[in-house]
Subunit: 493 residues, 2 copies
Amino acid sequence: MADRPTRRPRAENPKGFRDYFGAEVTERAAMLGRIAEVYRRHGFDPLETPAIETVEALGKFLPDVDRPNEGVFAWQEEGDWLALRYDLTAPLARVAAQYRNDLPSPYRRYAMGPVWRNEKPGPGRFRQFYQCDADTVGAPSVAADAEICAMLAAALEAAGIARGDYVIRVNNRKVLNGVLEVAGLLDPADPARMAAERGIVLRAIDKIDRLGEAGVRALLGPGRRDESGDFTKGAGLAPEAAEVVMGFMAAKAPSGAETVARLRDLVRGSATGAEGVDELETIAALLDAQGLGADRVQIDPSVVRGLGYYTGPVYEAELTFEVTDDKGRRQQFGSVAGGGRYDDLVERFTGQKVPATGVSIGVDRLLAALRARGARPAEAEPLVVVTVMDRERMADYMKMAAELRAAGLRAEVYLGNPKNFGNQMKYADRRGAALAIIEGSDEAARGVVQIKDLAAGAAIAAGASLEDWKARPAQVEAARDDLVATVSRILGR
Amino acid sequence: MADRPTRRPRAENPKGFRDYFGAEVTERAAMLGRIAEVYRRHGFDPLETPAIETVEALGKFLPDVDRPNEGVFAWQEEGDWLALRYDLTAPLARVAAQYRNDLPSPYRRYAMGPVWRNEKPGPGRFRQFYQCDADTVGAPSVAADAEICAMLAAALEAAGIARGDYVIRVNNRKVLNGVLEVAGLLDPADPARMAAERGIVLRAIDKIDRLGEAGVRALLGPGRRDESGDFTKGAGLAPEAAEVVMGFMAAKAPSGAETVARLRDLVRGSATGAEGVDELETIAALLDAQGLGADRVQIDPSVVRGLGYYTGPVYEAELTFEVTDDKGRRQQFGSVAGGGRYDDLVERFTGQKVPATGVSIGVDRLLAALRARGARPAEAEPLVVVTVMDRERMADYMKMAAELRAAGLRAEVYLGNPKNFGNQMKYADRRGAALAIIEGSDEAARGVVQIKDLAAGAAIAAGASLEDWKARPAQVEAARDDLVATVSRILGR
C-alpha cells in the first residue's frame, strides 16, 4: 500500500496543452461556421486531411530554419517517420499533387482544424491551436490573390470585426528581391548562401513590430543580443546595404499610388522587382473596383511574412484597435491572419510548377480579439433543472424533462444524490440554470409543481425592491398539466 | 540530376489515413450538429480536450489486452511519453479528476472529434476516425444510464435513422458476473487470473455476431484457430462451464419481463447478479415511462461490450435494416454506438470512487448507414461561374461575382488560364455549376450578359424535347443591370 500514491497517474495535460469547456467550444464553432459560409459563398469547397502525415510529405517549412528538425511532433512507425501536421498548407500541397488528375483546376478549398507545434510553451502559447485556411491552387493570376484578400476582409467582418478595426496590408516578395538585387546584396553565383542570407533578411524584417528599427538593423548586420543575453546571428550585410533594406521597409507613403511610385523607383533596373510592383498595382486596382479602398487594404513594404516559401504577393490582416498588454501598456492588437503566394510547394512532389496562393486565420487570436473588443458571447440558452424530491418517482421527473425538451427547451433531471435539497440548489446555481422545478409529495397529491425562478431569486437576494419582487415573483405554482406552458411563458418563449 | 526523382517526396497519405472532400466534410458536420443539439437540449455541455495526452493519463483500456502496448500512437518527448488519444472516455476521466473542484457534479458533457488507433489498417478500417460521445460523471443512479439510452435514441433519430430501423440493446455486467459466480467459474482467491479469464470470456461473447456460436464456444474453451491458421488462446473453461455462459447469452425472451425472469433465475444466489437484474428492471421501467418500449429498447444478455472497464449497465445501438456486404450477402447493418457504466476510471487518478456512464457513437459507421439507407445529401447550393472572355476586364468579372454573393448566392470567377473557352466550360462542368455568366466585348458594348443554364444544357444534350427546351432555354440574355435579378429568378430564389 505504501507505494500506492506514486503509482497513481497525474491528472494533467501535457505541458503546452489545454482543455476547452462549454462556451469556449461553441463560440469557436460558431465563428468558424460564419467564416466557412463566406468561403463557401466564394466557391471554396471544404477539405479535411488527417492529423498525421509522413515527415517527407510535410517537408520543413516552419519559419525557424535555424532548428530545422524541431517544431514538429514526429515518431517512427515501422521504418516510416510520421508527424502531426504543423499547418494546413503542407497537407494541401500533398493533396493537390496526390489528386491532381481528379480535382478541378483551379482548385479552391478551405480547411479548418487543429495544428501542432512542438515548441516551448509559454503564457498564452499552446502546442495545439486552430487554423482556418482558404487557398486557390492552379491559378497563376494575381486576381486569385486579390480574391483571397477581399474574401479575408469579408471573413473578418463575418467573424465580428467591424470595418475600420482591421486593415489588410499587402506586399510582394518580388519587390524585396528586386531591391536586394539592385543593391547588389545577393550573389547569384552562390545560391545556397544567397538563400540563407535572404532568409535571415526576411525574418529580420518580419520582426520589426517586436524588435523595432534598431533590432532589425542589428539582425541585418552582424547579429543581435537580446535582453536574456542570447545572441542571434545576423545576415552580415554591410551598413550601407542594411540601409537599403531599411529604406525599403519605410517606403510606405500616405497613398497607395505614392507607395507604388516609390517602390518602382527603388527597384529600377530589376525585372523581377518591376514585375512585383506591377502585381501590387493590379491587386490594388482589382480590390478598388470591388470597393475595398485604403481603409481596408493597403500596400505596405514592411510586410514580408516569415515563411521562406512565399514567391509573390504576401498579405497580413492586422487589427488596429488598442488593447492593454500583460504589462499594462496600450498597444495595437496586431496580426490575426496572413498568407501569400507559394508557387513551388506542389512542385516538390510532381516536378511541375503549380501556382498557389492562400491565407491562414489564427483562430484563437481572432477569438481573443473578439473578446478584447467586448463581443458578448451568444446568450446561453436557459436551462431548466428538474429537482428530485422523492427518488422513487424518478420516472415522473424524467417525464417532465422530456416534455420540456419536446417543446424545444433545454432541461435536465438532477442526477446526484438527492438527499440534501440544498445540494440540488447549489448544483442548479453552478450550472447557471434559469429555473428549477420542484414536485414533492404534497405537490404531487395536489397535481401541481413549483417553478422557482433562480435569476429572480438571486435578484431578491441582491436587494431587489418589493415592486420588483411582485412583478417577478421568485416562485410560482402551476398545475402539473400546465408545466410546459408556464415554463415557456416565464422564459419568454 | 540522375537522383532527382528519388529525392521527390511521395504525395500520399500514410497507410490507414484518408482525406475527406466537399460534401463528405459538410455532411458529417451537419450530422454532428444535429446530434450535438440533442445532447445540448438534455443539459450536456461541450468539452474539447487536446489530441495529445500523457501515456500515463490515457492508461491502457483498449479492448485488445493481449497486446497492451500496441494500439496507440506514442512517442517520447524530453523523458515523458505522449500519445494521441484513442477514444474520448480516457481524456474525460482525466478532466473529471483534474477539475474535480470546479466542475458541477454530476457533470454532463459531450465531445466530438477524431481519435487515433495504431492498428493494422484494412478495407474501410482507418487509423483516424470520429467519435461523438456523451457522458455523465458523478451520477451513481441508473437513472443516468436510462437517460443516456433515451438520449441515444433521440440522437439516432435526429441523425436521420428512422424509428424502427434501430434498437438499443441493454445488458448489465453485474448479471454476467453473477452468472459466472453462481457457476463457480471465477476463483476469487486469485484475482489476477480471475480478471484475465473474465476478460477472455467478455471478448469471446462480444464476438458472437462475427464468429457464431461455435466460434464463441471454442474461445470459451481451449481456443480458436481462424481460417488463416492464426490461433487465439481461449478462457480454458470446462465444457459444462462454457455451456452456462452460452445459456446466459441465449436468455433473451420475447418480452423484457420474461428475459428479466430468466436472468433472475440464472443468478439466484449471487448478490451482485441480483443487483444487476434489479438495475436492468429499473432502466426498462424508466424508459418505458418515457414511451421508449421494446420497439426501441430491449434487454439482451448477449450484449457485453468488449472493453474491460465497464462495471454495470452496458448498451449498444444496432441498426436493424439489411445491407449487402462486400461478398454480396444481405446482412443487418449492425452496431453504430455503444457504451456503459465505468465507475472506476476516475478513481485511477484520485483514489476516490466517481461513478460515470456514457455512450460513444461511431460517426463514420453512422454516416455509412445513412448512405446505405439512401439518405440524399442535402442539395448542394447552386454555383454560378463567371467566365473570363477578356482578361483585361477581370475587375468587371470580379464585380459581378461580388454582386451575386451580396445577394446571398454562391459565385466565383474562373481563375485558370482563360485562353481556351472550352476549358472554362469543362471547369464549370467539373464543379457541377448551375449557371455560367458570359460577357464578351460584344455583350459589354451592348450592356448585356449571357446566362448559360448548364443543367438545362445537359438535359438538351441528353435529348430533352423541343417543348422542354422552350420552357427552359439553355441560354438567356439579360441586361447587365439585371444580372442578379435574372440569375436569382432562374435559380428559383
